[in-house]
């Protein structure tokens, strides 16, 4: 499993981040389902797997509960990226919530890029309750990829 070593950062990950990728501190929101990904996050913690601190989890009961509005809201509030993560297909605690989520994310991925919100800034993953390692890996990779994309416009001026 990959343990990530973070550079101790210079300034707070808030407004006016420089576009220099190294210094750029992404801020991301992850809507994670209570039964799989949130459990995996707990497991990652119990297993002391370290990963970047840039992602803030928002617990939902099921990814099927994630209203497209939440994703839009998160971007307008200044998130550089949004992750929605739930149970693997077939494992959904509520039978099929993850399938519904997938369609909604698809729609958003059709709309948001029109406004310069790169489709890559919105991610959907399945992380099972026992995938603590997978969770940490995903977080690390997620943050690396956002760094590549640089800060999201909405973070730089108020469109809220």
């Amino acid at each position: 499993m990959t343990q990530t070593v973070m550079e101790p950062e210079q300034e707070s990950p808030s407004n006016t981040p420089s576009l220099n990728a190294d210094a750029f501190e992404p801020v991301a929101v992850a809507f994670v389902c209570n039964w799989c990904t949130y459990t995996a996050a707990d497991l990652a913690g119990t297993s002391r797997l370290t990963y970047p601190d840039n992602v803030r989890l928002v617990r939902v009961m099921c990814t099927g509960m994630v209203d497209p509005q939440y994703v839009i809201k998160a971007f307008l509030e200044g998130a550089d990226a949004v992750l929605v993560s739930g149970c693997h297909p077939g494992d959904c605690h509520y039978i099929n919530g993850n399938y519904k989520a997938r369609r909604r994310i698809k729609l958003l991925k059709q709309i948001l890029p029109r406004f310069g919100i790169d489709a890559e800034r919105l991610r959907l993953t399945w992380i099972g309750a026992s995938d603590g390692i997978e969770f940490a890996k995903t977080m690390t990779r997620f943050v690396e990829e956002i760094k590549g994309l640089g800060p999201c416009q909405a973070r730089l001026q108020p469109v809220i």
Partner: protein, 1150 residues
């Protein structure tokens, strides 16, 4: 509007969790900073918020500062969320006015840098505070708990749980998929470390389960579906058929002694055999026997007469010829005939044919028919049959007619058979030559049928001496037409009818077979490639001075005749002229002299799939011919059907019948055999005869609902498993008969061709007794149970019911305990250990059976020879630890029990085989963690076992030398000596890993449980909730959660039982209020939510035109709220407002 008119007063508490959080997060800073957040009245940090004083602190603050919201930043809400909600409740705040930030699992434990950790902690706290301001008070509803409990799995875990609950006075359903409870533990010999025998401590538990009046046992049963919620579950259970009635079976075992079918015993890990009817082990509970069946064997399914082939073959194996014959006679009264002339489709279907060659079924049938004593064919005395009034006429004394007559007569009907010719037998007599079917056999079997009291009227031809209206007048209630197909097809050549010397095959054969004179002589040309042509040719060959040539328009490959027949013909010196057919007959003074033929070549296939012969231009040639016998097919005679318009005759002169009932258009008049099929086989005719008898009986018994029943049967016959009871799930033991080694098929002795053509003596000899036994032994018992019904015969309680079917029913319970146990890893995949290749490499479970007093060797530890027969005791044994455990290629985890049972084995070997036996124990690390385990380790060390620290790399073998038998060689690195060693031993025991049940996923889905990456069921919390699961009211016990030994299993089972009991004792459960609701004032009635709800919890109120949530059914997944554009549908505690607040919170600037 702000959710609460009361001003917000929030208390924030940061937990140090010892150093778990404080070590990484500057808790003071976070606490101080949180104090500056809006509405926060008091903010503190404390060592352990979950501790008594920690919770007390909150309660006093609520009192002092008039808090109406509480936020705790500590561990995961999945761990202590409920704890603090309770605290709030006690403090007089609605528990849903509480919110939690996970700063341990999500911050201190996963973040390297202290400043960053602190900042993230601030963020999460900010979000939690921001969210809590939007929380709304919710009140949890209550629902009755159904007191009964279901325990799934009847191993030691399940039994213990059931007993504990039963003893507490509650009804408990113990559901076991196997035919007995007991589980793996009962397969063991001794148990470590105390070495008391598993049976001695296990069977009493089983008995206790059986005798506890509160425990309802559901063995041989599976849970197929679970609905409902905590306190209120409904289980769908499917009980597989045992084919033995549990209420009647006394477990005497008489049935097993007579059962001819042996299969490897699953209980003995295939080291011994059991009978198709049997039970796992003598102490099984319930004691009821059970029959292993898979689907009906292919041979039986294929037989047109529906004879139970596997059945009589098995009885023959036991030399029970009379019983075998009786089994055949149940379906066909012509065993001797079929044993000789049946085209045996069964052999084509025989599964043995896939590995070497099909079982010689026809020859076995003949053997049975020839061997069965006279007693085998009892004639029912007058009076045995319940005589009936209704007279029945059968027209045609061929196989179909006689069979129908036979079965009708046995039903008690007075039957009269009308035959046009002078002898009964039909085609059997006129068509089939004596050298294939000796007349005495035929006469014998016909006589037997007639002896039942059937009137045979000869020389009476339908349409001539009698007609159907006449029969009606004579008072016959039903007529069965089976007049056969005796008319030969014509070549359609000029002179065919005028020239003498031309005679069709049926006439010729009739003359021969009835011993009449025949003008057949000289050069005989037989035209055709079917069996009739062969019969004709071979008969002609037997007439002195006849030279026989068989002319066929295609090649031998396309001939419809059976291979044996063609072979026989050639042996007897018959010339076969392929790819030719006659085009012109030449005669002299009205006598045929020559036949002009044309050569053919094979063109494209016709509809029959065979390549069509195409004449070659100018290839005509002439053959000298004194006798021409066309044998190109037959069709039925015209019937005197006048006066009965109801009977429809098709183009080929066949009678049209209802394909189920065989009734013609004329009520009461049935038809069958060649008359319906066109020229077909004996066995088909017999099959039709019996079917007709059944339907004629039906017709007479219930004329009213006859037609409708016919339609029903029609429907059935269309349903897939119309071929009798077929179902994949009928075999409970995963074991099916082992794939056979090749064994040569029995061949009959054929009379020498030169002698054959001297006359009409039977050319094929009967099998010898040895041949017959060996041949019957070749049967694979595809159906496992052969349904010979020998068991039914011996069972004094009439407990056996071969037609039993699966039973489905429901039970209602308040909670469910899952105790489905484990599988052991099959080491075949690890070829380096030679398991399956070397007979003396055993798995742990196999060794348990070997060492077990009720096992295959009665508890002796023995070696096997190459035929896998147990022989002598081993002089040396290697025990290999961690086979599949602690191995990245198989299971990373430690199976926890192997070290200890390995030690147990070392002791048992020393004890049973002798202390001089060399025992090598190859271990990686010795894990003796339990009570008395280390002591046991020491004891075994003192017993002289050689412990080698190192994993065995492979098992090879070396041939035996100077008298010593061949050895296995364990190759390993001794990591203490640091050298590779090769240890020759007689026996190797592989300590195979414990792994999750291979069907765990199934039951997991049924119960909504997740499996960990290792396949075991995921507990609610690895430490604090090992028996709870993500599904409320479903608890885990035993190895379905993780590998564990018996003591742990038993304690966890009692733990799970306690969980269920406390739930039942509480009597009520809180129904989480965090479900959906729909605001009727906002709902537009679009019903998007209704279609997306996975639980059908939403209904549409037609009057108000709005959707409504049934809160009892809703599980709060939020599919509806996220789909509702207006926000009419709301997931309580996850409202948009609350989500927005949290999102703004996590993204707020610090």
């Amino acid at each position: 509007m702000i959710p609460d008119t009361m001003p917000l007063r929030i208390g924030v508490y940061i937990c140090h969790c010892g150093v778990n959080i404080a070590g990484k997060v500057d808790v003071e800073d976070v606490s101080e900073w949180a104090g500056s957040l809006p509405h926060v009245v008091i903010s503190r940090d404390y060592k352990f918020m979950c501790s008594e004083p920690g919770q007390a602190m909150i309660e006093t603050d609520v009192e002092e500062y008039g808090l109406n919201r509480v936020v705790v930043a500590s561990c995961s809400p999945r761990l202590h969320g409920k704890t603090f909600m309770e605290t709030c409740r006690r403090a007089g705040i609605n528990p849903y006015y509480f919110n939690m930030a996970s700063v341990r699992e999500q911050v201190s434990w996963v973040t390297k840098d202290r400043d960053r950790a602190t900042r993230k902690a601030r963020r999460l706290v900010a979000a939690a505070v921001s969210r809590v301001t939007c929380h709304q008070p919710l009140t949890t509803g209550l629902s009755e708990v159904y007191p009964d409990v279901a325990v799934i799995g009847g191993g030691i875990a399940g039994m213990q749980a059931a007993i504990d609950i039963g003893n507490a006075g509650l009804t408990v359903h113990l559901i076991e998929k196997d035919s007995t409870i007991g589980g793996h533990m009962l397969q063991f010999d001794k148990t470590f470390p105390t070495l008391d025998c598993a049976a001695c401590i296990g069977t009493p538990k089983m008995v206790e389960v059986a005798q506890n009046s509160n425990i309802e046992l559901h063995t041989f049963s599976r849970v197929t579906e679970v609905t409902g919620f905590i306190g209120n579950y409904t289980l769908n259970i499917t009980e597989k058929p045992r084919y033995v009635n549990a209420d009647l079976c006394t477990g005497c075992g008489d049935c097993a002694t007579v059962c001819p079918v042996s299969i490897p015993s699953a209980w003995d890990m295939g080291l011994s055999d059991r009978k198709a009817i049997g039970r796992s082990f003598p102490q099984a509970i319930p004691i009821t026997f059970q029959i292993e069946k898979t689907q009906t064997a292919p041979c039986t399914r294929t037989c047109p007469a529906g004879i139970n082939v596997q059945g009589y073959v098995q009885l023959a194996k036991q030399e029970k010829y009379d019983e075998a014959l009786a089994l055949i006679m149940e379906k066909a009264p012509f065993p001797g005939v079929l044993g000789r002339v049946c085209p045996h489709p069964c052999e084509t279907a025989c599964a043995r044919g896939e590995t070497d060659r099909p079982v010689a079924i026809r020859l076995l049938k003949r053997y049975i028919a020839d061997m069965a004593g006279p007693g085998a064919r009892p004639i029912p005395d007058r009076g045995d049959l319940e005589e009936k009034e209704e007279k029945i006429a059968v027209i045609g004394a061929g196989p179909a007619g006689l069979t129908a007559a036979y079965f009708l007569r046995r039903k008690g009907y007075p039957v009269t058979v009308f035959e046009a010719s002078g002898r009964a037998g039909g085609m059997l007599r006129t068509g089939i030559p004596a050298y294939r079917l000796p007349r005495e056999i035929l006469d014998q079997e016909i006589q037997y049928i007639l002896d039942h009291g059937i009137d045979l009227v000869l020389h009476t031809c339908l349409g001539k001496e009698m007609d159907l209206p006449g029969l009606k007048q004579q008072g016959f209630c039903a007529v069965y037409l089976a007049t056969g197909a005796h008319r030969s097809m014509k070549l359609g050549l000029e002179g065919e009818d005028t020239l003498s010397g031309v005679m069709d095959a049926t006439h010729f054969l009739k003359q021969i077979n009835l011993g009449e004179d025949t003008p057949c002589h000289g050069n005989v040309l037989v035209v055709g490639g079917g069996n009739v042509a062969m019969d004709a040719a071979r008969c002609a060959r037997r007439i002195p001075g006849c030279e026989v040539t068989l002319v066929y328009r295609r090649t031998r490959q396309e001939m419809p005749a059976y291979a044996d027949e063609i072979q026989g013909a050639l042996q007897e010196g018959i010339t076969i002229l392929e790819l030719a057919n006659p085009v012109k007959l030449e005669g002299d003074q009205g006598k045929i002299t020559r036949v002009v033929c044309v050569k053919n070549e094979l063109g494209p296939p016709d509809d029959s799939g065979r390549r069509r012969p195409v004449p070659v231009e100018g290839s005509e040639f002439t053959l000298p011919c004194d006798t021409l016998i066309p044998a190109i097919g037959q069709y039925p005679d015209d019937l005197g059907m006048d006066g009965l318009p109801g009977i429809e005759i098709t183009g080929k002169n066949r009678a049209k019948v209802n394909e189920v009932t065989f009734q013609t258009g004329e009520p009461g008049v049935f038809a069958g055999g060649d008359l319906v099929l066109g020229p077909a086989t004996v066995v088909q005719a017999i099959g039709q005869g019996r079917a007709a008898a059944r339907h004629i009986h039906e017709f007479i018994e219930h004329p009213d609902r006859f037609e409708s029943r016919a339609d029903e049967e029609m429907a059935d016959s269309e349903s897939p498993d119309s071929t009798g009871p077929v179902s994949e799930d009928r075999s409970s033991s995963g074991l099916t008969p082992e794939p056979p080694g090749s064994v040569p098929r029995a061949e009959p002795v054929w009379m020498d061709p030169d002698r054959r053509i001297q006359g009409f003596d039977e050319v094929e000899s009967c099998l010898t007794p040895d041949q017959a036994l060996a041949e019957a032994g070749r049967c694979l018992n595809c159906g496992i149970c052969c349904e010979c019904k020998a068991c039914v015969a011996v069972c004094e309680r009439d407990a056996i019911d071969h037609d039993m079917t699966a039973r489905q029913y429901q039970i209602k319970v308040g909670s469910i305990i899952l105790a489905t146990g484990y599988d052991t890893l099959d080491p075949s995949a690890m070829t380096r250990f030679g398991y399956g290749r070397y007979p003396n490499v055993y798995t742990a479970l196999e060794f348990e059976r070997l060492s077990n007093a009720t096992g295959p060797t009665g508890g002796q530890i023995l070696l096997r020879d190459h035929d896998r027969q147990f022989t002598k005791e081993p002089k040396s044994v290697a025990i290999v630890h961690c086979v599949g455990s602690r191995d990245v290629n198989f299971h990373e985890y430690c199976s926890r029990v192997c070290c200890m049972y390995a030690l147990k084995y070392t002791h048992l070997i020393k004890e049973k085989v002798g202390h001089d036996t060399k025992v090598y124990d190859f271990y990686i690390d010795m894990r003796c963690f339990g009570k008395g385990y280390e002591e046991f380790y020491n004891r075994c060390q003192q017993e002289g076992t050689i412990f080698i620290r190192g994993k065995v790399a492979q098992i090879t073998h070396q041939p035996g030398f100077d008298g010593d038998s061949e050895k296995l060689v364990a190759v390993a690195e001794d990591t203490l000596m640091g050298e590779v060693i090769e240890v020759p031993v007689d026996m190797v025991v592989l300590c195979t890993a414990i792994q999750a049940r291979q069907d765990a996923g199934e039951i997991g889905r049924v119960l909504g449980l997740n499996q960990g990456s290792d396949g075991f069921f995921l507990e609610e919390h690895p430490k604090l909730g090992p028996v709870n699961t993500a599904t409320e009211g479903v608890f885990l016990s035993g190895c379905c959660q993780k590998p564990m030994d018996i003591p742990d299993t038993v304690s966890q089972a009692s733990g799970a039982a306690a969980k269920s009991l406390s739930l039942a004792a509480r009597g009520q459960v809180e129904i989480s209020p965090t479900v959906a609701s729909i605001d009727p004032d906002i709902c537009a009635g679009c019903q998007l939510c209704l279609n997306l709800c996975p639980y059908g919890a939403i209904e549409f109120d037609e009057d108000r035109q709005v959707s409504v949530v049934n809160e009892a059914v809703c599980k709060g997944c939020g599919s509806c709220s996220s789909a509702c554009p207006s926000g009419a549908a709301v997931s309580r505690h996850f409202t948009r407002k609350q989500m927005f607040a949290e999102i703004s919170g996590v993204l707020a600037d610090l």
